[in-house]
Amino acid sequence: MMSIGKSIYRKEALEKVTGTAKYAGDFSKAEVLHGRLVVSSYAHAKIKSIDTTAAWTVQGIRAIVLGQSFPLTGEEIKDRPPLAFDKVRYYGEPVAVVVADNETIAKRAAELIQITYEALPVVNSPREAITSGAPLVHENLIFYEKIQHVYPEPNTNIADRTKIRKGDMVKGWSESEVSVEASFSFSPSDHTAMETRCVTAEINRDGKLVFSSATQSPYMIKKLMNDYFGLEPGKVVVRTPVVGGGYGGKVAVQLELIAYMATQAVGGRTVKIMNTREEDMISSPVHIGLDATIKLGCTKDGRLKAAEILYLFDSGAYSDKGATIGRAAAVTCTGPYFIENITCDSLCVYTNHPYATAFRGFSHSEVLFAFERTMDMLAKKIDIDPMQLREINAILPGQTTPTQMLLNNSTVGSLPDCIQRLKQLMNWNEGQRIQVSDHLVRAKGISCIWKTSTIDTEASSGVNLLFNIDGTVNIISGIVEIGTGTKTILAQLLAEKMKMDIHQIHVKMDVDTETTPEHWKTVASRGTLLAGRALLKAADDAMSQLKDIASRVLICSPDDLEVGYGKVFVKDEPTTYLYIKDICYGYKYPNGYSIGGQVIGTGNYMLRHLTHLDHETGVGKPGPEWTVGAQGVEVEFNTQDYTYKIIKAYSVIDIGKVLNQKAALGQVMGAMSMGLSFAGRETYVFDDEGRVLNPRLRTYVPMRYGEHPQYMIHFNETTHVDGPYGARGIGEHGLIGMPAALANSLSVAAEVDLNQLPLTPELIWKTKESGGTK
């Protein structure tokens, strides 16, 4: 009967392998109108005029919606018109939407819209953006509405700055006998969910706005429609079926705003907008880029003493989630090490690139790439084994994080145990670089990881449990099934808690904000903690209702009763019992008297004691716990042509408690694959005018079948007291050390410091030719 830890198949498995699972784009009605975006062909330009005359001549066209000065949107700073107004700030930015009877007509009309631009100078990287005299992406930054805890710097391209000031830098540097300093950079890239973003919107006769959206944040859409357009929250309904991959990319609320404007323009008729792949890659938000400089000091025996860090995040044209990403980066600005003295400035910077949103790991793979590369450079300089340098400095309970959170045995897993295990798995003692033949070497690289979540301090989740007449239960949760299997995990938690057969539990996969209790957003590896705790509370609620009814039938105190195995029974005399199916809709006495009613369990959960960060020092508690781990990569590298193959990839992660063995392995494996793909090959290529040269899957090339390494994954289990059955967040962690580990292995293999991404043979060749990185 026990369910925890078992490799239970996902509840929607049959639907997915038979092709019957319906995604947002699979619902079709004859009367649906189709919206097609018209996007900018410049990265930065003044819109001089938009001529729609020719487009209107196309038969079947219903509306053309252009940008307006109001409202401006954005989650922290309201800097973005849903459709560009007055000027465009990135290549591919939506400028207009054409609504027509079908896709073909919409496309033809969209192509006939004539836009005249006047090109403006382009900001093509974050370093360029912060130089004095750089063109301003937002001249009116000072006037924008914003939330309290974001700090834009007017008349610059800096949208936000998070500062970490921990300890005493003078002391830190004076205690440092050795130091290294290095710079890192990579451009924005993409999430590339196989399902492109898709939304339909309609306004009913009673004024109710109904969306169907492929989103990770249906409740945020509801909230933002209120915030941006003043719509009553009860009159906004968002329906979200299963989603074809998110990885952070579907957190952003973008197409919904455009679809709302489009349906308004056609009297509330249903309008569907589905991104083409090209639009999905650059018109909708992307994976953030980064320029970084890190200076690290330690004693001769490898004890870290000081870290001075500058992170310049390439948020692109708008700050939407970029500011939050920059903040999360500051929270985890070092690797998982105890460092007494830290200065970090983490900036969210405007450029004329496509704008950024969350990407799986939320700044951690990006920051760890830079930091863990610096660790390897430092290890080399003091001639110490890189694994040992990490062991010496590994963060422990009783120590503090960069934001001065004091950790304990529950709030952080055991990093030293992870490092030990990784060492064994990788057979580390055989050496990091082994010559296999004349031109072939095998090389290993590692990275340690840690992550907490930086999310709204009032983020919450609710769960309803509805009993059916046969004693089975329906779980209703606002978690979006984006592929992580969290809803199946919820079923396992309930099976464990109520000691019931997993097959007696049904899970509602779709979300409908009108009837489903809210789950803040399906992000941040927090589904299991938030919804899991809400579910356990709902189960307690349901069980106390069942006991209440049973106590009156069995004539005893509810305290003497227990729920399990489909029954409510007397603890001391289990042979005295009632079946749940006989009381979950109330109980009918022989004479007809009846008591109770359908048992409906409800529960909610909100994270405890989270705070904002202090603006001057960064002090604060942004997340509940830290998942830690150690990862490695082994490559086979050709020293003649700089090609390589990733042979093995390793992860040892302190998961708290494994809830579903194969699902957990799958989460980690998939994340590792995505991390290696990002690190090895994924980037947007920009020309001097800031145009993206490769917005399609033929020129932007994610990893494919057969290029995957052998995965070696191991879990440690240090209980997180707050987590359901002790579990920690795991959805992102497999990804976040991969870029650093790959870069470290290739730096060893090629005997040159590789401090840029992606790690293509061409980059390695160029770095070698130029005599090493700066």
Binding site: Y9, E12, A21, K22, M194, R277, G483, Y705
Partner: protein, 157 residues
């Protein structure tokens, strides 16, 4: 805009549809026949999410015109009946979000039928035409190999 009535043989049934000559088979399957198992991912032949089997060969339906698909045996994921590969995809956790899954399964299905003794190189050659962003591909490898091995055991016994 030229349109014609044509008959497609889909999942064992003749289906009459009225299509534009430029309609892709993917469009016709999804919009005219309601067979939404085949997915649009790039409409460019790059991602494989729209893969179906035509005369037992895996074909990207986004690169195929409906009007050139008459007189052919079209099988979509909806036409599979409890295929072993579907079961193995579930057992090996070979999908997460499930969006690329119908395409992968149809590609695997054709491979299994055509080359029941496919080796690693052959499997790679076939499956590298599809992209999966959720799994690490190792799960898909396990699933297809489980079927191929079973087939081989079946053949040798």
């Amino acid at each position: 805009m030229l349109k014609s009535e044509i008959t497609l043989y889909v999942n064992g049934e003749p289906r009459q549809v009225y299509v534009r000559h430029t309609d892709t088979l993917l469009h016709t399957l999804r919009e005219n026949l309601g067979l939404t198992g085949a997915k649009p991912g790039c409409l460019n032949g790059d991602c494989g999410a729209c893969t179906i089997d035509i005369d037992e060969e895996p074909i990207k339906s986004c690169l195929t015109l409906s009007v050139e698909s008459t007189d052919k045996k079209i099988t979509t994921v909806e036409g599979l009946q409890n295929a072993q590969i579907q079961k193995e995809f579930i057992k090996k956790f070979a999908f997460q979000c499930g969006y690329c899954t119908p395409g992968f399964i149809m590609n695997c299905n054709a491979l299994i039928n055509k080359y029941p003794d496919a080796d690693d190189a052959k499997i790679k050659d076939w499956l590298e035409s599809n992209i999966c962003r959720c799994t690490g591909y190792a799960e898909i490898e396990e699933a297809i190999k489980a079927v191929l091995t079973k087939n081989q055991q079946g053949l040798s016994s």
